[in-house]
Symmetry: none
Subunit: 194 residues, 4 copies
DNA sequence: GATGAATGAGGATTCATTCAT
DNA sequence: GATGAATGAATCCTCATTCAT
């Protein structure tokens, strides 16, 4: 019954963004539907035109954010370039996305460590699988990485980048271009074929 | 007014453990005080003899778990040994703790990404600072690590270990001793002085 | 966020009246929100659409009742008449209001002697100040009363009327017109210019 | 099962006084048994050695306070003196008691307007009946007062005195000896035989 | 007598969701 | 589509009271 079409007034996106902002600021806890509605400038009931329940709202928000992340991460990727360059480009993009989209970072972290992630593993971004996972897979198959399970690679890499981004955001310190490359080198030196 | 003393019947610890178990299973959401009480085999009101509010219960649980973690991590540490050995020992201990204490791992992850961590940064385990942070600090000062900010080191390391432990737990796959060493090598090769 | 407007179904007033009735019958104690809701024929949550909390409900009820009192007291007041006549009219009106609105009388008494009155002295009926206090003030300024502090006059007068009304209500005795005039004479003879 | 005897440590009185103090400060509402116990320096359970329930505690406190009031009011009463003098002495004593025992005044007011007074009318101070009511009765029988119902006299008188005392206490103004006599004259001129 | 941990029913309040307009 | 008043189950917490020590 949900209406994704002709949301000309953009209420659907407004609700998603408000949910994101509120969860970032106050956690899942501090984002009741009534507050989301008010923050988005819509009536409480209106949310239910676009989302079946609060649960699906969160779930769809997750995919929405992950899509944005996939797009940002894969920007400028060029299959012609050496793999290490492509990897570094991805990492830099990812770091920048986190820093520039604090609420997305915080939401993703909360989502991933919540029961949602465990209970709805099938609910994820196709775009992310296509753009990001694929590249990792390629690196594994072509022996650019150590011989580790592919499914361990992504969280390992993410862990360090998230740590760095969170650190910059919380500490009000700005990493220089070189600092970021140093951080990515930590990752690369760890996971690359030795 | 809380009574930590002579809780001979162990109700305080029972409440902490029940909270841990329920949060692991159902998230912060699925752990109402009434359920915690029932799970712990105490009356709802009894919880409030030991904790001022649900918030302080969570906060004290965090320190409690972090204390246990610190103890487990630092087991068998020997200042006489080479630094790399000490580092590997810590990592192995940490990985094992996570795998053997799934509920602690899940709770810590949820706690760290929740607003609690941001709102109460001063509320942390002294034991952890003494046993674990100190060893990292030592490694930094004695140039065993790359020249990265000390505050970035810990979350980076943790990220990979947590990823590995979560992976093993969720996928029902048991890392062999060698697999674990491989994972720790990822970390070590990344952060060690190049 | 409260909605005083277009409460066409009259739920707000129903809640006020139910609160009044229950407090009269059982005191502040015996008026839990759940009972008020049931008595008013609304859901418990509905009360919170109209009042922020139980405290504000009580506070707004006080002003509501005091407004009704002010209106009843000043009925038929005529600035052309001699002051003593106006005073007697007010007193008779007040006595009648108390007798005819037992729940208002009991509520006001409980409210005035509760910490509410001390903690929120600024929360009072403007109507009462305009209609009733003003007339007393006039009497003081024009030397119809003894030379006593104006702020002492009102409670003194009220004390006797409340005593009389309470007496009639509790004893199931009906004062005759003459009896009431006698009581008012007690007041008047006490406070009038000797 | 209550023990009024050999309360050598004075715990019973301590509980009564703590209850009085807390009710004065925070109302019936703000005087939970646990707080009374702490304020009185006894264990919560101890209160139940002296009082069957919270209800009886309040009831007994009322009689206790009323006894003290009766004693204070009738101090210096002399059957040989003219009735008006005796009446004035009583009034002055009563005013002074209220001003000097603010918590008793506030408690009595709250008690009288609460459902307690209605539900337990038989629970009152014998001392008060003997010392104070008796004197009023005498005045009525000997035609010192107007021809009003005897049961109306006391609350009428009390109303004005309480108003005056409350006024002084709340406004931080000290009535002079003359001011008090003026107030009592209001009463006397009102109720005396015209 | 005295203690205070323990109880659990009851109270204020929140919030996801519905539905008549 | 959009609204927001209304719902009532669920939540956190309080507090009079009991009882083993």
């Amino acid at each position: 019954m949900n209406v994704q079409l002709d949301d000309t007034s953009g209420k659907r996106v407004a609700v998603l963004n408000s949910t994101l902002a509120l969860i970032k600021e106050h956690g899942f806890h501090g984002a009741p539907m009534s507050l989301i509605a008010k923050h988005a400038g819509v009536a409480a009931g209106t949310i239910y035109h676009y989302f079946d329940s609060k649960e699906t709202l969160i779930l769809e928000l997750y995919v929405h954010v992950k899509d944005k992340l996939a797009l940002a991460i894969s920007a400028g990727d060029d299959a012609e370039k050496p793999y290490k360059d492509r990897f570094f480009n991805l990492m830099i993009n990812q770091f920048n996305f986190y820093v520039e989209n604090e609420d997305s970072l915080f939401f993703l972290e909360q989502y991933m460590s919540s029961p949602f992630a465990k209970n709805f593993p099938e609910c994820d971004s196709q775009l992310f699988a296509d753009k990001v996972i694929t590249l990792f897979q390629y690196g594994i198959e072509n022996a650019h990485f150590r011989n580790i399970d592919s499914r361990l690679l992504a969280p390992t890499i993410k862990g360090t980048l998230v740590a760095a981004a969170t650190f910059q955001l919380s500490e009000q310190i700005v990493f220089s271009k070189e600092d970021i490359l140093e951080v990515i080198s930590i990752i690369w030196d760890g996971v690359k074929r030795q």
